[in-house]
């Protein structure tokens, strides 16, 4: 009887093992789900969302074609936030609870990122902020949030340095009424106090949904500043630029136009601004003449083959976001949140733009890659490609105003 029982138990054990084996095998090959929150419909920037999506898909393909992460493929689970904080919050909630993603990335608008990180922090899930520039995202000090993208203080100091080298006396920033726009306008003011305290500075905040900025521009025509800094995103930025140009304010012989929002990267830039963009100085996070690691070139070529478009900054930022997650999973040998956060904190990875590490300093530097590369370039012709524009200076190099193009009086 006892022998019969043992035989039965052995049979049950073998049957269970036979059932479980394929399950264990399947688990080993299960994809690594990465949550993505981007804008895919208005009122947020669908153009940015599309560029981020392309970058993530290119990176996922590169990883998966190379065999995945320890044999597991990357699977992107994409949620549309419409650029709205409330939608971003519910998207992160869904990704964390229903889709059980291992990490979340892709966010490209500060207001949406600020909402999303609250949920990620609550669930202690890794959150790679692709393009939220607001310093407040870093100042929260959430250990789950990592920032391989650009940040307001970086643009602030770059813009202030450029203003100093241009030798201007009065500067006006035109900022959109978002966490990004207002934060950046203030960051420029703070940086100017340090590097050029004699410069008079003020900023105007405009509604990004508005279609007519003439009432804000007309007083500038009467008393034009030496430089205007654009801190608005399309399509409002295009309308504002056209109206600045039509009123003869900037770019003009008197007034420089400096873009701190990466407008020249957008594929619809020239179609929308024409002459209003000629002469604009640009804070650029990507320029084909910048030094770039081999992975950056590979991603750029894959993107051009896929979309027939020139590479752009968001492509590289998005690709790096996913490469960092894959690298952390590989080093942690786990998709457990705690292990991933620890691995991300110890990152030392050569991505598409350089070697990425995360600072542990407090404030805007927390979990931030501090050395995000940038350049200043000038668009000297209508319909000029970024690659053909004049590379005015790279980070740390001085700018020579005498070599810049300026409209005749």
């Amino acid at each position: 009887m006892a022998g019969l029982l043992r035989r039965d138990m052995l049979g049950v054990a073998l049957t269970v093992a036979a059932i479980m084996l394929p399950v264990v095998g399947a688990q080993a090959a299960d994809p690594i789900k990465v949550g993505v929150t981007i804008t895919q419909s208005p009122p947020g920037s669908v153009v940015q969302g599309t560029q981020v999506k392309d970058g993530l898909e290119v990176a996922a393909k590169i990883i998966n074609d190379a065999g995945g992460v320890d044999g597991r493929k990357i699977e992107l689970v994409i949620e549309d936030t419409q650029g709205l904080p409330e939608k971003a919050r519910s998207a992160v909630e869904k990704l964390a609870t229903r889709d059980k993603v291992v990490a979340i990335t892709g966010e490209h608008q500060s207001s949406a990122a600020l909402a999303g990180i609250e949920v990620a922090h609550r669930y202690k899930i890794p959150y790679i902020n692709t393009n939220g520039w607001s310093d407040v995202i870093r100042e929260k000090g959430y250990p789950e949030v990592f920032n391989p993208g650009n940040y307001n203080s970086r643009v602030g100091s770059a813009a202030a340095q450029t203003m100093k080298e241009l030798g201007v006396k009065r500067v006006v920033s035109i900022a959109e009424n978002t966490d990004y726009g207002i934060g950046l306008a203030k960051a420029i003011g703070e940086a100017l106090k340090k590097v050029a305290p004699d410069v008079q500075y003020k900023y105007e905040t405009l509604d990004r949904a508005s279609k007519d900025f003439l009432p804000a521009i007309l007083p500038m025509r009467a008393n034009a500043p030496d430089a205007i800094i654009n801190l608005m995103l399309p399509p409002a930025a295009y309308i504002m630029m056209n109206q600045l140009y039509e009123q003869g304010v900037a770019p003009s012989a008197k007034t420089w136009l400096y873009d701190g929002s990466g407008l020249a990267d957008y594929p619809d830039f020239w179609q929308n601004v024409k002459e209003a963009g000629k002469g604009m100085l640009v804070f650029g996070l990507y320029h084909p003449k910048m030094a770039q690691p081999a992975l950056g070139k590979q991603v750029g070529e894959a993107y051009t083959a896929k979309t027939k478009n020139e590479p752009n900054r968001l492509l590289f930022q998005a690709a790096d976001s996913l490469f960092l997650i894959a690298d952390a999973v590989k080093r942690a040998k786990s998709t457990d949140s705690e292990a991933l956060i620890k691995a991300l904190g110890e990152t030392k990875y050569t991505g598409t733009r350089g070697e990425i590490t995360f600072s542990k300093d407090k404030g805007y530097a927390f979990n931030q890659w501090l050395d995000v590369p940038y350049v200043t370039f000038q668009l000297t012709e209508v319909n000029q490609k970024v690659g053909d524009s004049a590379l005015v200076s790279q980070a740390g190099q001085p700018l020579d105003p005498a070599k810049l193009w300026k409209p005749a009086k």
């Binding site: 969302g49 279609k211 007519d212």
Partner: protein, 298 residues
């Protein structure tokens, strides 16, 4: 009056003219059907895209693309009335019996559908329409204005005048006004109220699309471009008096000037709030608007 004040007044009046083009159609629809068309801004958006794509993608001259945008808007209006609006009042001669509360949901749904349709089909990118004239700056005393904006203002005046004249004196205009005053009475007098509704929807769609086309070189066509003008139009229709075309025109010009001066002398931040403040004041002290009639319904 200083130079900048003249500048602000002129630009405010021009902005008001563009508001009027939008608001007249909305006012007419309310007058005839007693419904608020929440998709009105999307007719404007479709017009902006129609003009821009016809001119840029097909290479059609701008002076032909402009009326074609009106036609596209009118056709969209006709389609909307026949497929979405007609079932709401088919068989009813009195608007009091119409299922007009559904119209809010239907037109709101149409608005979302059109925004997302354009976003997916044309793409999320903004398109700047080709200007009617290439002259970028015209100096008129203290006023500096773009050639296109000046010409567009002149065209807007002409279109508003023709529309007002048609409504006042034409055969169909008189029928529209009769239906607007009393749908049941008009139908008893032999007026085809359904046809009047179709005409109003076509005219309204055409005018909104024409406004979008005219402004596409200034506002750049994008899927959500119609949202703000539509909100302004709702405010204007209430300020002018629900269903009153002259009221809508005067309220549009008034709002344009108020916004222009308020943005400079108070704050640009509150520019879009001025209309809402006016709306609240009117609802408190003159709810019938400038030219509307007081009325009660039980």
């Amino acid at each position: 009056m200083s130079g900048i004040d003249v500048d602000l007044a002129v630009n405010g009046l021009i902005t008001g003219l563009f508001y009027a083009l939008m608001a007249i159609g909305l006012s007419l629809i309310f007058g005839i059907l007693k419904i608020v068309n929440f998709a009105h801004g999307e007719f404007y958006m479709v017009g902006a895209y129609a003009y821009t794509l016809i001119a840029l993608a097909l290479g059609v001259p701008v002076w032909i693309a402009l009326p074609l945008a009106f036609v596209v808007g009118a056709l969209l209006g006709w389609l909307t009335e026949r497929t979405l609006m007609r079932p709401l009042y088919a068989g009813y001669t009195s608007w009091g019996l119409m299922r007009d509360e559904y119209a809010v949901i239907v037109t709101f749904g149409l608005s979302l559908f059109l925004i997302n349709l354009v976003d997916k089909v044309v793409g999320p990118y903004a398109y700047r329409g080709p200007p009617l004239v290439e002259t970028s700056r015209v100096v008129l005393g203290p006023v500096l204005i773009s050639g296109h904006r000046l010409l567009a203002a002149g065209i807007a005046i002409a279109v508003i005048a023709v529309t007002a004249a048609l409504i006042k004196w034409s055969f169909w205009g008189q029928q529209i006004r009769a239906v607007s005053q009393n749908r049941l009475g008009a139908s008893l007098a032999g007026i085809d109220t359904a046809k009047a509704s179709v005409i109003v929807f076509m005219l309204s769609g055409g005018l909104a699309a024409f406004a979008g086309a005219l402004l596409s070189p200034v506002i750049n066509a994008s899927p959500d471009v119609g949202i703000f003008p539509a909100i302004k139009s709702y405010i204007i229709v209430v300020l002018g008096g629900m269903g009153s075309v002259p009221g809508a025109i005067i309220a549009s010009l008034f709002l344009g000037v108020i916004e222009s001066f308020g943005a400079v002398y108070i704050s640009f931040q509150y520019r879009d709030a001025f209309g809402l403040i006016l709306l609240m004041l009117f609802l408190l002290f003159r709810p019938q608007g400038l030219f509307g009639e007081k009325g009660r319904e039980v």
